[in-house]
Symmetry: D2
Subunit: 449 residues, 4 copies
């Protein structure tokens, strides 16, 4: 049976062609709109430095804009003969105007693909940040609603101290905000215009790279053409590890929900929409969606490791290996967005079982509080602890009454306002960036005239 | 022979003790100074909220300061019975004053270790950033010195276009600056005060967490006690991947140097200090230091993956597994600093062989330039390319004369000034941060009175 | 632009359905023939224990055989509504006969998919072993042809001692044979019948698991139904790491060829079929296929790590996460087979440049030989070494004449006969296994009557 | 504070020395006995081919044997100046006899270290196999003792079907036996004599490599000197992944025990020896040892990935990077042995709570059995399933009485005898191997006369 898989008895040239093309015709549809945008900026700049006439620039930008609109709705396609979006785009342009033949002046495939991928990455970074922020905001809302619903707090998977659903959900809000704040480091990495780096050593033309930076909305120029190439793999790995860090938090949330929804814990109920029945037991609801989410989050970690491997361990400058960076990173970003969107819906629909959870917060869990109460009356803490311990063992520990963890983050003050402020700040920053890039795009396409 | 390794016939309790203690007594020496600093802030805050008297606070801060000075010069030790730096510290304090018994009020091991590790991480981040910047500056100096020394530019490991040692070194400068800029994301992650999170759910006392944040130089409070625990593993992984990204660039530089110093390429000579002879061939100089650097850089990637694995795939809140995060991340930071320091010394002493490199920049490598020259006289580029190609094949390509890649990053304008500005900006920012933290420490220790 | 990717505004049920189905409809086409084979064995056994009548069994086996023939030529399809091959198969069977409704008696999806995957894995293991052996044999032939073509031997990327193309190629033959020998460990893992494990705890029927083992060609029964489930992930990881070990060797071979074919080394010429031209330099031939192979080999390592992550860190028994193990392992096996097939074609067509290689084997490289010659005349080795060293430095080293490394593996006796014997043994074993399984299949389908 | 860590202001030569030496002086103590054994075989062979006199051989073997006895009890040491065990050994030999100066004739550091590591790996493989088998046997004993103690069987972390402690423990026995069976693949990899490969290209002497193979107990010669070097990294990775597969199973067992011992599940009690108390709650017993075991198992996976990275992505033949393979693989083997030993002790002392577990096997879990009972009376299974389902929902499902899963592996026949047979076979094979190698060693040291 084995040979059905691989012995396709392909002629050599066909085998080699298939191998070198790989998944590009499919994958490149994702970056094609960005390749078009990069091409428009390039054309506008070429006019500025006198390589194109104003008429040629207008023709090119007009055609590019039309193609962009099609690419945005996935209306373009790439044949296996064309191999990638760059050839497909050049063919489309050449077919539409004589000026199309000039679009490749002053650039190379190497800076062209890097530009397209970087523009995609910038959008993907904002897109995933948006989804991350969205889930964080949902967790915050959940926290507000369940601020005083008790939940046992666990350490070492053992009941430890009183906690609440609010405290639990607030943790995820803060953890996810952190990812948005950490995204700044990534933004710094990619907010640099690679266009003009050519094959990796520049090109004998007086390109105006500051101008294309402005047209594309980059704050600065990625100066070194060699480092433009060296950044391949480095950027994908950094982006991938950020996505896998988000995945880590999603996985943790999924774990919590799977544990808390077991028959044995019973603190939450996974909404039916996210479970499946068994083929044998009608009472059984399996948390498949959360299990698959856990699997996908682990896959994110693995794929980030793959990006690390493909894009490192090489000398400087361009190597063809970099072609294989595209699929994993695009897949990771899309997958992350889906996971965040699904988790947001799970949480919105989540049923909690406050009574079951509160019942599990037995008097013993208040031992710390009791010890502190005693200590606050002057007894040294280590002694207060021993006294309380004996009361626990003797079953004589009473509920200490009102919770006194009034410090920031404690049960008495979850600090949700502070977190809300951070949410607001992150949201504002993201909106401003999106607004600015929207204006950049409007400006770019204004060169159609 | 096998059993000599493992069948130590240890009594069970001893085996379990050794297993649970692990490498902590040794590793914790690295974080002990930070544990002391965190304890000082805690003590000062405890006075503010009325838990300690002013006298007790003075006693504690005085003892802590003395211990800190010893810890800074590795003069303290941790016994295997004490297991970790926290127990060792409490023992030292208790032994010195009655107030020592009160230092643990209002905190738990869980927030204590997180605080110590975070303070360490902040320092380590600044330390590695400093070393990275240093190497980047050295590369920049090297680039300036060799701005016009030709070097063949390679793509696909094939001679491609003219480049220069200056362009090559500038690439590494820019790549390393990027790491410094990316460090902002990490800084955002860790610039949050975890102290007061206690075991993971707060503590029944009105701790003033804003105050300890200020005392420790944190911009904000890590609000959620649960997320304080969830951040373990998340922070280490993020830090680890940043270090491995620096390692990726170092490895790339090492690869370049090893390739360029082969007998076959011969563009540089590795300084003797960094090579070893063979036991059999006197003419042979092996680039051992660079090979080992490559190995260490790969190890960095692997250890970052290990951190990913240890610190993820768990439910929320504290798990004992987190103990094993300390050794890898501390080892990685130290190793990275060493690698950066060694590479800086390699580059400073590097011999280049400008003649050998220039000779390899044959006329053929100027083909692109020739085609562009032709195109600039009005011939469409694709046609100019074909004409040039035929001249190359016919051996009739002449050196086109002066280089015209005058755009930013091209051979005619390496953009070293821009990179120098970025270096300056990064250096200034780092200095300000170090200055601010120095003042924070001075302020903290002023509570000795 | 960001939202074009993810905000598909899908209704929740559709989003969840797409998420849970994943790539199964496409991936499962690979394991569908194996699911059919497993089902046939199950049906035959059900008759044996009296659950099916002989007529029902005949109907089922007849239908399964027809479907198997179609599945083998990819003529079946799985709709997204059916989700996976198991539902598709049951639908096809039920549609064809009343007996189809009984095929699921005594089994569960959990053992069904494990059986299908294991049968696939057994075939894939033999298939990749075959390709590995094939490449090894080609290397051996190459070694024989170039037994006495000199090549400098390198250590630390520095010329070290005389070697030959034959010695170089023989190394790869031996390395690849090792993978075939190591495959025995994997074979031991998977040569166990999982069918009958049901959901993970068996089923209240007197299944004859020894009988299905025999029908499916397994040497033993995978006894524990819980371990049948626990083996998911464990087997994929083990298989994946074996594939990545083969990939490691392929990558090493690709590296050698890329280095030896640089203009600077120039010992081999990559056949044109495996290179591409540059868009700018006609003299340039880029080794794209080898670069892409290197990238794919690294991807293999990364994907093996992904399998490690998905399939571990869980409690025992079935988890839905295991669904995501299928795509990576199937992809890896197919990719490995392709890489081996392409490399075999590269080597067959490889041009070597014996003169260039021999010229690089300068007199200095014979220093070891000279020292040994001296030592053999009674001078202590350390002294002979020093004398030779001085002659090298003085440029007075002469070629020592005939090579004397006559030991096994040395230039005078490459040991190719021994390797050929191992090749023969491995080939014989593989053939026997294939033969035996072919007979097993014939026997299975004989139950059509 | 940062600079306390790295700015050691070391003189360059000292920094480079420390960097290149790394941890070798410490690590090499582990492989020193093996280096001694390899040296003895080499010396005996040198006499056979006439390089040493019989007297010299006797002197050398006598000294080596004495040193070996010391090395076995860790009585030798390696100074930082000596760098590694090879230099230390040569120094010791030279110091003891004139013949010591001749021991290095006909070998190189490269084959010497490979031989030592391989001999170590062979022992480590047997040692870990022994520990794995031991734990498997303990699980089997546990399974026999608790054959009929009910335990709910889980799928998707939801109660699914009746299972038993015996079925659960048997699964681990079988999973661990599989590792022993899989070890054969590894054995095939390493059962080849690398001695005589010299620096990677052989040596100009008529070494008798078959003879050293016999003296060292290898079945065959590792023929190709280049592949001897290429095997570095390949062998370590393969061994590492096998160890991490064992770790995967240990982690799974640890997860099960941690889950089953929660207050919420309560099926087992972790023995006190393996738990720690809380500093605040006397009723709390934390399963620290199991959590740390989980962390260590994950570390094993990470370290295996590190080995993958260090030892791949290189051209053929020797690179200095391989030095860094030693520490991780030795650490992994030792750690694995410790984890297996500790887990064995946990299981031996494990308390189960049969009543709590049985109570959780509610009537609903017998639904499958009930459906099958119904089906066995002639009702089609899909209909029987629906009827049973309605009885479950209506709460009318009665316990079906006696368990009928009498097939191999089912509750009625756990198949422990079969597993015991496999245990016996694996044990016998291991004993024979150990016996044979013991005799090999006796034979080797008999050359002392």
């Amino acid at each position: 049976m084995a040979d059905r898989l691989w012995d396709k008895a392909l002629p050599l040239d066909e085998m080699v062609h298939q191998f070198t093309v790989g998944d590009d015709p499919e994958i490149d549809l994702e970056i094609m709109p960005y390749d078009i945008v990069g091409s428009a900026a390039h054309a506008i700049m070429l006019e500025k430095i006198g390589v194109l006439t104003s008429l040629e620039r207008i023709e090119l930008v007009r055609d590019l804009r039309e193609l962009w609109e099609q690419a945005e709705v996935w209306a373009l396609s790439i044949s296996r003969e064309q191999e990638d979006c760059h050839t497909a785009l050049e063919a489309l342009l050449t077919q539409r105007s004589e000026a199309g033949k000039k679009i490749h002046t002053g650039r190379s495939r190497n800076d062209q693909v890097t530009t397209a991928v970087r523009l995609w990455m910038r959008d993907a970074l904002m897109g995933v940040t948006d989804k991350t922020l969205e889930l964080a905001e949902i967790m915050l809302t959940f926290a507000r609603e369940h601020e005083s619903d008790f939940l046992p707090g666990y350490t070492h998977w053992r009941q430890a101290m009183p906690s609440s659903f609010g405290q639990w959900a607030g943790a995820y809000a803060e953890g996810l905000f952190e990812e948005c704040e950490a995204a700044e480091g990534l933004w710094n990495r990619i907010d640099k215009n690679p266009l003009g780096g050519a094959a990796g050593f520049g090109v004998p033309l007086a390109l105006d790279r500051d101008y294309t930076a402005e047209l594309l909305g980059f704050t600065q120029v990625h100066v070194s053409p060699i480092d433009v190439q060296n950044s391949r793999g480095r950027h994908e790995a950094a982006f991938g590890h950020w996505l896998s860090s988000i995945g880590r938090t999603l996985e943790q949330l999924a774990w919590d929900l799977m544990l808390y929804s077991t028959e044995e814990f019973g603190y939450v109920r996974i909404p039916d929409e996210f479970t499946t029945g068994s083929s044998i037991m009608p009472q059984k609801r399996n948390p498949d969606v959360l299990e698959l989410m856990r699997g996908r989050c682990r896959e994110l970690r693995g794929t980030a490791a793959t990006l690390d491997m493909i894009g490192s361990g090489l000398t400087s400058s361009y190597h063809r290996d970099y072609q294989f960076l595209k699929k994993p990173i695009i897949g990771m970003a899309n997958q992350s967005a889906i996971l965040l969107a699904i988790m947001a819906r799970v949480v919105v629909k989540l049923d909690i079982r406050p009574d079951a959870a509160r019942d599990r917060v037995s008097n013993d869990l208040w031992a710390t509080q009791a010890a502190y109460d005693l200590a606050s009356s002057g007894v040294p803490f280590r002694e207060a602890y021993r006294t309380t311990a004996q009361r626990v063992i003797g079953g004589a520990l009473e509920h200490p009454g009102e919770q006194q963890a009034t410090h920031l983050g404690g049960l008495g003050d979850l600090g949700l306002e502070r977190l809300a402020e951070r949410a607001q700040a992150a949201r504002t920053k993201l909106n401003e960036r999106e607004q600015k890039l929207k204006m950049t795009m409007d400006h770019l396409w204004s060169f159609v005239n």
